[in-house]
Structure formats: structure tokens, C-alpha cells
């Protein structure tokens, strides 16, 4: 006999987040690295940023951590986010390992 059962997943929030449009002309722009606190993250992300800067004719500008008392499992300090927003047009970062 057929029966109906409930699905187990909760609905996702209705909020729609749109991705920002791709910068059409990045030439001459600045790239920053937000190091997430995991071992060698800064090293890896800097290598990528340098390679990317060379490839798209941009400038590799800055490497920063998440700020005082922040670590790999916590959010980046708002001051650091603000600083990056002012200083660079593209930020590379990582999640977990």
C-alpha cells in the first residue's frame, strides 16, 4: 500500500544572495591574501596570488591574517575585512585545510 512520508530536510531560507559581477578589466588591480590560520595557508595562497597577478596583469598587494584573537575556526575581524575592502579588489582566502 502506498503511503506518504515527510521529507527530513528543513527548507532553506528565502534570502537570495547574488554573486558580484566579474570585474571586466582587472588589469592594474590589486590582489590580497587573507590567510586563514591553517599551516602553510599563507604560503599556498601567496603562491596562487602571485601567479594570478602575473597572469592577469594585476598587482599582488598584501597578506594578512584574520586579526587579533581570530583563528582558523572563527570569523575574520571586521576591521580586517574593512581594510581589505579599501586596499584591494580581489581577496584570496581558504576554508579549513
Amino acid at each position: 500500500m502506498n503511503m506518504k512520508i515527510h521529507t527530513p530536510e528543513g527548507e532553506l531560507m528565502d534570502e537570495v544572495v547574488e554573486l558580484c559581477s566579474t570585474a571586466p578589466l582587472f588589469s592594474g588591480g590589486k590582489i590580497g591574501v587573507l590567510e586563514n590560520g591553517k599551516p602553510n595557508a599563507g604560503l599556498l595562497l601567496t603562491e596562487i596570488a602571485e601567479g594570478l597577478a602575473e597572469r592577469i596583469d594585476a598587482n599582488f598587494s598584501i597578506v594578512t591574517g584574520k586579526g587579533e584573537r581570530a583563528n582558523a575556526a572563527t570569523a575574520c575581524n571586521p576591521q580586517v575585512v574593512g581594510m581589505l575592502a579599501e586596499e584591494v579588489q580581489l581577496v584570496l582566502t581558504g576554508s579549513a585545510d
Binding site: 502506498n2 503511503m3 506518504k4 512520508i5 515527510h6 530536510e9 532553506l12 579549513a96
Partner: protein, 350 residues
């Protein structure tokens, strides 16, 4: 509207061809749902019965759970409680646990997504233990008791289905751990020489629930000692290890789950719960230089950073991070449950 008063949408229901337990098992597997074990079919009748134990609209959102950002509505939580095999009278406990997981102190996004093996340990306190049949005695961590097993499992299913903490896309735990199936115990107040654990935090409630996000229990046994120092030295030796996250993150908590006989030994010497914490804080230490040899990154409190290599460093930055309570039955085994590190336990009334 459905019988629960909530809005029906086609995505809320699935057709099941029959009531054979293997049918839902295979259907859920085909959707990538479930914890790998057989499930109870969440029929409307069972979900409605579960919801009858709370005064809330089925579609009311209890909290939103990361990383997926799924809405933990009463309905969604009830569905998972049915799937887990909960009796409907357990449902208010499951709801309070989900609410507590939404507390920012838990840092559920980190708990769910980290590579570290961490699971929310539920500890039930007070009159709810006896009223609902939780096992606070012999074998409290399991197996064999329906309340412990299914309430813990319901939380895991909520984390899998609503929070999206699925190994791979939503849970990066390198090896996982068995307590990611179910992890629920109860405080053995009848055999505890001390006040209820929630009361030690200033919470005077008939029943309460604690959530501590931690590793599996690390056992320590002492069958022969007649003084608590010798027993706790073994607990301290279990704590003083480089392998846990708490070794390099000094803000981490430790739950010390003493068996009744070890607790009685402490009490017979006039020791309070705080005395046990103080002793472990002093004894579970290693030289600062050894930590520096072992770790490139040490998330230590400022006062710990200034210690010389020869000085002993405790396994947590303050004694209040060592929590003590009694659970389990006869036999002289206790355990230590280290936290993930970047999480704080929460105790709430129920």
C-alpha cells in the same frame, strides 16, 4: 494546510510504496539521507504525534543550522525524531537541544565542518532523566537504552539533514568518530555526592540539558586506590596529551565524567566538585617547552605565552574550563571528554 496546521508543499512529502522497513531504508539511501542505519518512516500520523508534545506551529523556525543554512522548524525536527526512533514524549528534549545548538557559544558551523572528530554530547539532568527513562547508570554512553540512543541520534539526523553536516560536502572530519551516530548520557544525580551540575552553574531548574561538543570519551580506570589523588592522577595523565585540540587551544573545556565510586572516594575525603577541578588543573600539566616543540601554532592565553620552557602549562587556561559531573554505574571507570577547542558548552533548562 495539513493535519499539523502547517502548509503542505510537494517537497515536504515523498511517496513510499509500502511499509516494509527496507523500503524507506533504500529510499533514503537513494536521496543521500540518513546515518546509514535503518529508519522509522516519518508518516504524518507519527510526526503529528511528535508535534503534540510542544505548543508551537509546525512551521515555526527554532533556529537556522549551518553550514547548509537549513531551517530547523518544529516539523523538520519532529520528522528527524521519528526517523531516529524517539518516543514522542522525548520530543521536547530534542527541541531544546536544537535550540541550544543555535547558541553562538557552540560555534556549530565550526563543530559541523571541522576536520576534527567532534560531536555534540547531550547530558540530561534532573527529573527528566527518570521520567523519560534515560540511562544515567551502568552503560550510560550505551548501548541499549532507547532514550539515550534515539535522542542522541535525532540530533545527529537533524545535523545531517537540516544542517547539512554530511561527510564530504558539509562535514570535513578526517576520520569521523562513533559518537557522530549518537551521543547522549544523563547525570547520575542519585549517586552523585554533589549538587546537580546545572545548579553548580547557578541554574536551578527541575530538569536541564547540557551540550558539550567534544571528542569520544577517553577512559581512565582505577580499581584499587582509596584516595582520590591517586585516581585523579590517572585522569590528569589522560588529559596531559599533545594529541587533542585542547593541547594547542587553551580556551578549550574538559568534561570529567566520574563514575559514582570515584566520586564517592572524593566525597569521603571531603572533596567538592571544585576541588576535583582544581586538582586536575594543577596536575594535568606539561612543560611549556614541550608544547613549543610539538606545535608551530599555539592559541594560548597571553599569560601562558610568557611562561619559560621549563615551567609547567595546564591543559586549559582557567580552572573553570574543567567541568565535573557524575554518570555511569558500578565499576571504577571514569572518563575525560576533551572539547574541539573553539566551542563552549551550554546548559539550558528544560
Amino acid at each position: 494546510m495539513n493535519d499539523n496546521g502547517g502548509m503542505e508543499s510537494s517537497s515536504q512529502f515523498l511517496e513510499l510504496s509500502d511499509e516494509d522497513p527496507a523500503t524507506i531504508y533504500e529510499l533514503f539511501e537513494s536521496h543521500g539521507w540518513g546515518d546509514g542505519l535503518p529508519l522509522v518512516a516519518p508518516t504524518d500520523e507519527r510526526v503529528t504525534e511528535m508535534l503534540s508534545h510542544v505548543k508551537a506551529s509546525p512551521e515555526e523556525v527554532i533556529t537556522v543550522l549551518p553550514p547548509r543554512g537549513g531551517s530547523a522548524t518544529y516539523r523538520a525536527v519532529a520528522v528527524n525524531a521519528v526517523l531516529a526512533g524517539c518516543k514522542s514524549e522525548y520530543f521536547p528534549i530534542v527541541v531544546e537541544a536544537v535550540k541550544a545548538l543555535g547558541n553562538q557559544k557552540i560555534n556549530l558551523r565550526g563543530v559541523n565542518t571541522t576536520t576534527h572528530p567532534v560531536a555534540p554530547l547531550l547530558i540530561v539532568h534532573g527529573s527528566a532523566v527518570e521520567e523519560l527513562g534515560f540511562n544515567s547508570g551502568l552503560g550510560t554512553f550505551g548501548p541499549g537504552n532507547r532514550a539515550n540512543a534515539t535522542v542522541g541520534r535525532a540530533i545527529r539526523l537533524v545535523l545531517l539533514h537540516v544542517a547539512g553536516a554530511v561527510p564530504g560536502p558539509g562535514d570535513a572530519a578526517t576520520q569521523g568518530q562513533p559518537s557522530k551516530y549518537t551521543y547522549c548520557i544523563a547525570e547520575n544525580q542519585k549517586e552523585s555526592p554533589w549538587e546537580p551540575y546545572p545548579m553548580s552553574l547557578g541554574l536551578n531548574s527541575e530538569s536541564a540539558l547540557t551540550i558539550h561538543c567534544g571528542e569520544n570519551p577517553h577512559n581512565f580506570h582505577d580499581m584499587e586506590s582509596e584516595n582520590i589523588e591517586r585516581i585523579l592522577d590517572k585522569g590528569a595523565s589522560v588529559m596531559a596529551t599533545f594529541g587533542v585540540n585542547n593541547a594547542c587551544i587553551s580556551g578549550g573545556e574538559w568534561f570529567i565524567i566520574l563514575c559514582p565510586e570515584h566520586a564517592l572516594t572524593a566525597s569521603n575525603q571531603g572533596w567538592s566538585r571544585e576541588d576535583v577541578s582544581n586538582y586536575l588543573f594543577e596536575k594535568a600539566r606539561m612543560p611549556a617547552g614541550s608544547f613549543r616543540e610539538q606545535f608551530n601554532l599555539l592559541a594560548w592565553a597571553d599569560w601562558m605565552k610568557s611562561l619559560s620552557d621549563e615551567e609547567l602549562v595546564p591543559m586549559t587556561q582557567k580552572v573553570e574550563n574543567i567541568k565535573v559531573l557524575v554518570s555511569g554505574g558500578a565499576g571504577k571507570h571514569s572518563c575525560v571528554v576533551p572539547s574541539w577547542g573553539m566551542t563552549r558548552s551550554v546548559t539550558v533548562p528544560i
